[in-house]
């Protein structure tokens, strides 16, 4: 039974807001070019009058609108990109943290995998199905993981990592923080 997050983070490039902004910018750019073209032609053929001055002002406003719209669009895209980057940085940091803790506890490769799946939210039956193992085996492996990490349940196992993440802001090397200052685990 595959398990997924219920929603996906919207990405910078697929965002509806950015697409709408791009469309509006394109329309504005076209309007600006048509207006400028008309103004230039009118000046050439008819000379300058009030009507033309007004048209020129509109054309200028449209051009300004395009440039400022482009800046706004860049900000929108960069903001979305930043949240993507932050998410992937956090993901990488979380992976580092998990690997460091697992190594500290001296988990075997099998326990490592079972513990990771447990952290991701799979239950014993699902883990057994994924690994092609008996439920009893998985339950025993999980029990050894809990014993090695000094917790009593999956919720407590998860809380170790949540505590690490929430107590200190996520940085590139969260593993540097010593275990002493962390959650008072019942060892």
């Amino acid at each position: 039974m595959p398990w997924r997050l219920p929603y996906r983070w919207s990405t910078a490039l697929g965002g509806r807001r950015a697409t709408a902004l791009a469309l509006i910018l394109a329309l504005q750019a076209m309007a600006a070019v048509f207006f400028v073209g008309d103004v230039v032609a009118d000046v050439t053929f008819e000379g300058v009058d009030l009507h033309l001055v007004l048209e020129a002002v509109v054309a200028f406003a449209l051009i300004l609108g395009v440039v400022f719209g482009a800046f706004e669009m860049r900000r929108t895209l960069e903001r979305a990109e930043r949240s993507d980057t932050a998410l992937s940085a956090a993901r990488g940091a979380m992976t580092d943290l998990i690997e460091t803790r697992f190594a500290e506890w001296g988990l075997t490769p099998a326990e490592n995998e079972v513990a990771l799946l447990a952290l991701k939210g799979f239950d014993v039956a699902a883990i057994a199905g994924l690994r092609g193992a008996a439920s009893g085996t998985v339950r025993a492996q999980l029990a050894r993981v809990y014993a090695k990490s000094g917790v009593a349940s999956r919720a407590e196992l998860l809380s170790i990592f949540m505590d690490d993440l929430i107590a200190a802001p996520v940085t590139k090397t969260p593993a540097d923080a010593g275990p002493a200052q962390h959650h008072p685990r019942g060892r």
């Binding site: 990405t11 490039l13 750019a29 073209g37 008309d38 482009a70």
Partner: protein, 208 residues
């Protein structure tokens, strides 16, 4: 983890923002329509030409103030980089480029330059988009006038007429060059996608 591997693979091709994609396909459609379908000098031809010019202008503005891979600084024109890229292809080395690959960058600048010539000469001939035939009519009148008076009668008229003809010739030559470059561009993308095993079309359609 499978998820992060998938993401790394995605980053191997450039990610194009909506504005890049919109202007790209807008210009592609305009070039095909005006190059192959619409009546030369007709109202539709002129309107599409103006729209193409607007798309080009917007893309160039975006190249200056846009984001990441869309910016000129992400793909500076460089012959030596292009040569290195050809060597990469020949030795089937895979290198990732966050924007256009160096060969594609040269093509982008060539296409933009040619499109600029085509649209500017076209607009110079057509005049205002709101009276697109006016320029045409005026020109025909001038041709008639020049014919009546003879070329040596009125040097000024003759010079203007010559300028008009030069515009038209430049417009047509550049338009043909543009179609040729566009065909080369499509061929280049197909070849690069095949050789590198990375689909370069998808990011231009879907973004990444």
């Amino acid at each position: 983890m499978a998820g992060s591997e998938g993401q790394a693979a995605e980053r191997e091709v450039p990610r194009w923002d909506p504005l890049v994609r919109l202007t790209h396909w807008g210009i592609a459609a305009a070039v095909l329509l005006n190059g192959l379908i619409t009546e030369e000098g007709g109202q539709v031809h002129v309107w599409i030409g103006y729209a193409a010019f607007a798309m080009l202008a917007l893309r160039l503005v975006w190249g200056a103030i846009g984001t990441g891979p869309a910016r000129f600084s992400a793909f500076p024109p460089s012959l030596s980089a292009a040569r290195a890229h050809v060597a990469d292809i020949l030795s089937s080395r895979r290198r990732t480029h966050r924007s256009h690959n160096p060969l594609g960058a040269l093509m982008a600048y060539a296409l933009w330059g040619t499109l600029a010539v085509v649209t500017v000469t076209g607009i110079a001939m057509a005049g205002s988009p709101l009276a697109p035939r006016a320029g045409d009519d005026v020109r025909h009148e001038r041709v008639a006038v020049a014919g009546d008076h003879g070329e040596e009668d009125d040097e000024h008229e003759g010079a203007e007429d010559e300028a008009g003809e030069t515009l038209e010739e430049v417009h047509e030559a550049a338009a043909n060059l543009l179609l040729l470059l566009a065909a080369l561009h499509v061929g280049g993308v197909a070849l690069e996608s095949r050789v590198s095993g990375r689909n370069l079309v998808r990011p231009m359609v879907k973004g990444s």
